[in-house]
Subunit: 140 residues, 2 copies
Amino acid sequence: MRLSQEKAREIASLLNYRHSGLVVAVAQDYETNEILMVAYMNREAVEKTLTTGEAHYWSTSRKKLWRKGEESGHVQRVIDFYVDCDADAVLLRVEQVGAACHRGYRSCFYRKVVEGELLICAQKVLEPEEVYGGVSSGRG
Amino acid sequence: MRLSQEKAREIASLLNYRHSGLVVAVAQDYETNEILMVAYMNREAVEKTLTTGEAHYWSTSRKKLWRKGEESGHVQRVIDFYVDCDADAVLLRVEQVGAACHRGYRSCFYRKVVEGELLICAQKVLEPEEVYGGVSSGRG
């Protein structure tokens, strides 16, 4: 998916950035249907995502636009871009390179409640140190 | 999934309610893997969800706790409860009765970008008027 700037701006203008100028974005693996991560997008991130075909987010901790994978190489190629009924959440169906989670798991949702305890339920697919050079405080 | 109050409180205390006291919650159909909706939970909604086994959310528009389906009967039975790396988003794998979307679609993500236009890409599974008696301003 790579839209013209004009088309991307049109789509971006239909969204409702009602939470501090942001929409919620859910990334789902387009092949396995696994939920990879939840993040936020401002209007610029929506436009960049639609024009480049690669997921861009707004980092609420670093207060900056962030191309997913810019540091780690773990980019998300956007296959489909969905909008919810209230237009305040979007769903990206993506092709994920490597791992979505900066902790080395394929998905950020690597923990689940099992018999009343929160347990790790996935295997790491890589070691964060190998990707981020020991710095794993941000998502890559 | 039905935890004791004590266990539910323990799990709820592990989450990071950093966005106005809320975590983001994604509901995914446990059979089809379809993303049904995105909503928010405060700590009470997390505890209620874990103790009752039915999805509860915090309505940011109505400013109240909301048992999904309390009005429509379209409840979500929680099969699995996942937590993400930053503990500020949760993923519910649910058994959805009827439709998740108050507009009558199975999923709230019933629109997607097709050739630069935002188009409806799903069929309604019911008419909202039949469920909400003509009032479809809130999610049910």
